[in-house]
Symmetry: C2
Subunit: 402 residues, 2 copies
Amino acid sequence: MTSTMSEILDHPAFRKAQDLLRADHDRMVGEIITLTEIPAPPFAEERRAAAYLDMMRDAGLEDVQLDGIGNVTGLMPGSGNGGIIVVAAHLDTVFPEGTDVTVRREGTRLMAPGVGDDTRALAVNLSLIRSIRAAGLRTRSDILFVGDVGEEGKGDLRGIRHLLTEGAYRERVEGFFTVDGLESDALTSEAVGSYRYRVTFSGPGGHSYMAFGTVNPMHALAAVVTGLSQLDVPAEPKTTYAAATLGGGTSINAIPNEVWLEVDLRSVSQAELDRIDAAFHQMISTAVEAENRRGNAENGKITAHAERIGNRPAGRNADGSPFVASAAEAVAAFGFTPRFDASSTDANIPISLGIPAVRIGSGGTGGRAHSLDEWIDVEPELSLRGIYAILAAILAAAGMED
Amino acid sequence: MTSTMSEILDHPAFRKAQDLLRADHDRMVGEIITLTEIPAPPFAEERRAAAYLDMMRDAGLEDVQLDGIGNVTGLMPGSGNGGIIVVAAHLDTVFPEGTDVTVRREGTRLMAPGVGDDTRALAVNLSLIRSIRAAGLRTRSDILFVGDVGEEGKGDLRGIRHLLTEGAYRERVEGFFTVDGLESDALTSEAVGSYRYRVTFSGPGGHSYMAFGTVNPMHALAAVVTGLSQLDVPAEPKTTYAAATLGGGTSINAIPNEVWLEVDLRSVSQAELDRIDAAFHQMISTAVEAENRRGNAENGKITAHAERIGNRPAGRNADGSPFVASAAEAVAAFGFTPRFDASSTDANIPISLGIPAVRIGSGGTGGRAHSLDEWIDVEPELSLRGIYAILAAILAAAGMED
């Protein structure tokens, strides 16, 4: 087996794969455009998934299928014992149904919502599949390519969560790449975890003047917001809270029956996240009790219901993880200076499960992700160097056969 | 001049007016239905005003006109020096455009949104005008009948405020009745004043994780709500506050740019109302300053803008006011046990200006005002006793000529 990065890079089959990737680049760009123009709003990735399934099959993967949650998966069998390296890119965009996703092209620049996040990666992975097969590259581990659903926002990582906790392949996964973002120098090895809540505070309500003194759910909400604002959080591991949105009330002349608050809690440390989560729940209980003591509850007490609307586990790869190190080595081999960041991506799930995992950029440059002005530049030299780095990282993780 | 209540009640013209009111009762009920079925949503009273203007003219008033704000006014001249007693009922209902205002009738019960509040009073006043004229009753003061706009909610008493502070008759008004509500035993002689605010808290916003530490306008909002909940207010004179409605925020993963809060402050004492109003403004300043000290304001500071969206002055009639006493005497004369309450009605405006003023019920019974199930009962005996009481109160105030 070819075990060092230099052995991989010097291997004739790797060089052949590079040539094939270069020759495939225009087709890859065409597939970015094709896929970008198939809308994939949150919770409505089906059309793009169906197209991607056909493209994976055409690229030559085996067992191409839609799994129980809507991910598209396809296998590239290895020669080994059936251990799997996942290479994923997410199908969903942040853009709602009806967004104009027509791609405009000016030279090497492509402009459209979702073109870079994460559609370029979907196309890059197809090009990698074709080139690996055509170059005759063989790996020990199986490689499972995935186009997954639900990475963005309220999707709450449901695609990869399903894949790794309920999917048919879950017990065989030994390493995980999500190809997401663009810049090849940035690798995500730490998972920013988050809990998100919608807390509904209810009470009996009443006329603002006649029923004055009645318990007011807004008082409890305010105490929780103030409690959050005074919460001690460490700068390292970075831990944050945000009182984000709120609403409710009946009319200007009524004590409200119901008000609600949405809160986002995050940390790169699951222990810190769980600590502030417990503190947050304690704040809610304390605030509700205090308002029921303060006010008149003869027509009903204040109650609060905290619905968890988001749950992304935190974590980090093991110190000195060879999986992470070889991804960095692959990136460095193609002229990038690797730097690690902490972020909230599909890699959160494997990291939290103890599976080595890295988010790696799909290459090239771009900007304005999550905005209608999103763009990427597919200038081939930089674009291809990034793709070569991904290929090297995959081969190092999956074990390249001689 | 007939100066005592017993002289008024025993006067043949008064008895004749009673007979005429009784004979007119069916017509009056018909006019309740006609007027109820002409929608008069907040800030859209024009159609009902136009119809009422014609009805006032038909009833025989002079100088019937629409004033600058949309009130309908019509004069019944007296024999004296031009002093005016106002007899008002409000045109507006709380119900929005498109509400089904068809009246259903079962026996003496009429059911429709707005039928009792305050449409019955509009019709009662027409019947009083006809009967006073037909009975040949003469008063010293002029009587100005008014169908006014903007009594409910955000209407903010704009009709009567205009009449008494800008209208052509304003300097001649010596006493004021608003015929509003039903029960004849309840008289309002104290005005519950209110200030209402919509406070908008703004800040730079930012990503909940990346921009953590940035000043959050919701923290300032919460501090204001908590400050209100801890505000000391006297039970007597009754003074109240309500944090009523709120909203804002961008998304679950953003520190909000803007949140807003609506607050209702009330008191029967203008001094107490002004005291808590000042305290409220102080709370806003303190909360904004505290959040700007607590958080990172390098991308912008928190600011707050308090828009006064309601202003109803507080006050009470002079102790031992003969105007109030004779209204109570009139009600008692027809078998009711007068009781005084404090409320927020069109009478707030004259009371705050030092003009003797009382809210008097239009008679009969009913319920569920401000709901779609609103109803009244026009059973003639009780209905007419209430109307006779209003007539006696008006004549006592306006000075009945022999």
